[in-house]
């Protein structure tokens, strides 16, 4: 995408198709309300359209730029909502973390969704549930060494996905 490329409505449509799902996921994670999250995504694209001439891919990716805008929108909406009680939908609680940590948490959760099922499962069983490797291996019917190698490849896959999402050490 060229500098200032968000000048045409078609560019915005393409950007929406590529990034709206992620933006919505993070907005929902932060705001805990589906309606507010959609409002945040809409406001993000409208602001991106207004400032489209200033987008420069030499500085960062379009995705990074949209997330930076969304971050500000979420802060604005959060301030506006502070004056009224929030209603969580579908069991999704609004985040009470600082926004940067909420973004990182959402990135890790999104990355966990994207890695392979075999890798996700061994990470859930061994790390999140704290089960011994031998027990997980017996349940899966594989050698313990296979569980360890799946944990290795799972973490590597997770790192690759996070880097694609803009994560840096």
């Amino acid at each position: 995408m060229q500098p200032g490329a968000l000048r045409r409505e078609r560019d915005v449509r393409e950007a929406y198709a590529a990034h709206a799902g992620e933006l919505y996921g993070f907005a929902l994670r932060s705001l805990g309300d589906a309606g507010l999250a959609e409002e945040a995504v809409q406001e993000t694209f409208v602001r991106a359209w207004r400032a489209g001439d200033r987008f420069d891919p030499q500085i960062g990716s379009l995705r990074t730029w949209l997330f930076a805008i969304l971050r500000n929108v979420v802060i604005d909406l959060g301030r506006a909502r502070a004056a009224r009680p929030s209603v969580a939908e579908s069991g999704i609680e609004p985040s009470v973390e600082p926004l940067e940590q909420a973004l990182l948490s959402w990135q890790v959760e999104e990355a966990m969704r994207r890695i392979g099922e075999d890798h996700r499962r061994v990470l859930v069983e061994t790390h999140y549930r704290g089960r011994p490797y031998a027990e997980v291996a017996a349940e899966l019917g594989v050698p313990e060494g296979t569980v360890k190698s799946r944990v290795y490849y799972g973490l590597r896959a997770l790192r690759v996905v996070l880097e694609e999402m803009g994560y840096e050490d």
Binding site: V46, Q101, V124, H127, Y152
Partner: protein
């Protein structure tokens, strides 16, 4: 073939995930750390995986076990509509600023006088006109908005040869025809041409577009309801 005692870096590295998550027994861990002491490549890999392992507590397995939430299917269209409104507002601002401050003030004063004397016809609704029965791949539509000076026309053309000169006219009753301006269609341009004609929308019966050597005409409903009807395709004038 795996052995109990890893022999290559590849074998050692398969243990690095469990090592990063503190899942190795004491003896296995000690052997791996002895290897890491003498192997910069495996040490770097261990550091990289350790950084990822430190992030895992940030994620809630209850959340990532559920499918990723998706926005409603209408959101994309809502955003397109909002941006379309922004674009039209921007075009109006640019047109006015192009007149220059003094010129704009003079025109505004003139329009105010016209409004006081005659009203500006602002009660008339904006009309969207679709040109039907067009050649395959060609799309033309227009939005007509009444103003005190006449009619503002926003033209959207797609599918004709790039560079084609398009001339637009509004047709009134009794065969009158007033020009609305010209523009060139450029391939890949998704923008809308903004034109204007002195003919009042309330007196407009049809809109005519000459794209190269083809002429397309669509009726305009003088009662103000949105028009959509068969397009007359005429030979070049």
């Amino acid at each position: 073939m795996r052995t109990d005692q890893p022999e290559s870096c590849r074998d050692w590295r398969l243990l690095l995930g469990a090592y990063a998550l503190d899942g190795l027994g004491g003896e296995e861990r000690a052997r791996l750390e002895a290897h890491l002491d003498g192997c910069p490549g495996c040490r770097a890999e261990a550091r990289a995986l350790g950084a990822v392992a430190q992030l895992l507590p940030l994620a809630d397995p209850e959340r990532f076990s559920r499918p990723a939430p998706r926005p409603s299917p209408q959101l994309g269209e809502q955003i397109a509509a909002a941006i379309g409104g922004e674009r039209r507002a921007g075009q109006r601002r640019r047109r006015w600023s192009g007149l220059g401050l003094a010129g704009a003030a003079a025109v505004a004063a003139a329009l105010l006088a016209i409004f006081v004397l005659t009203g500006d016809g602002g009660g008339d609704p904006v009309q969207h006109v679709e040109f039907a029965s067009l050649p395959a791949g060609v799309r033309i539509d227009a939005t007509l908005e009444p103003h005190a000076y006449g009619t503002e026309i926003r033209m959207y053309v797609k599918g004709v040869r790039s560079g084609t000169l398009c001339r637009v006219y509004l047709r009134g009753a009794r065969g009158s025809r007033l020009p609305a301006g010209t523009f060139r269609y450029r391939w890949g341009d998704d923008s809308t041409a903004v034109l204007s004609s002195a003919l009042d929308l309330s007196r407009t019966r049809a809109i005519e577009v000459r794209a190269g050597n083809q002429t397309f005409v669509a009726p305009v409903d003088p009662t103000g309801s949105t028009a959509s009807g068969d397009t007359d395709q005429e030979d070049a004038a």
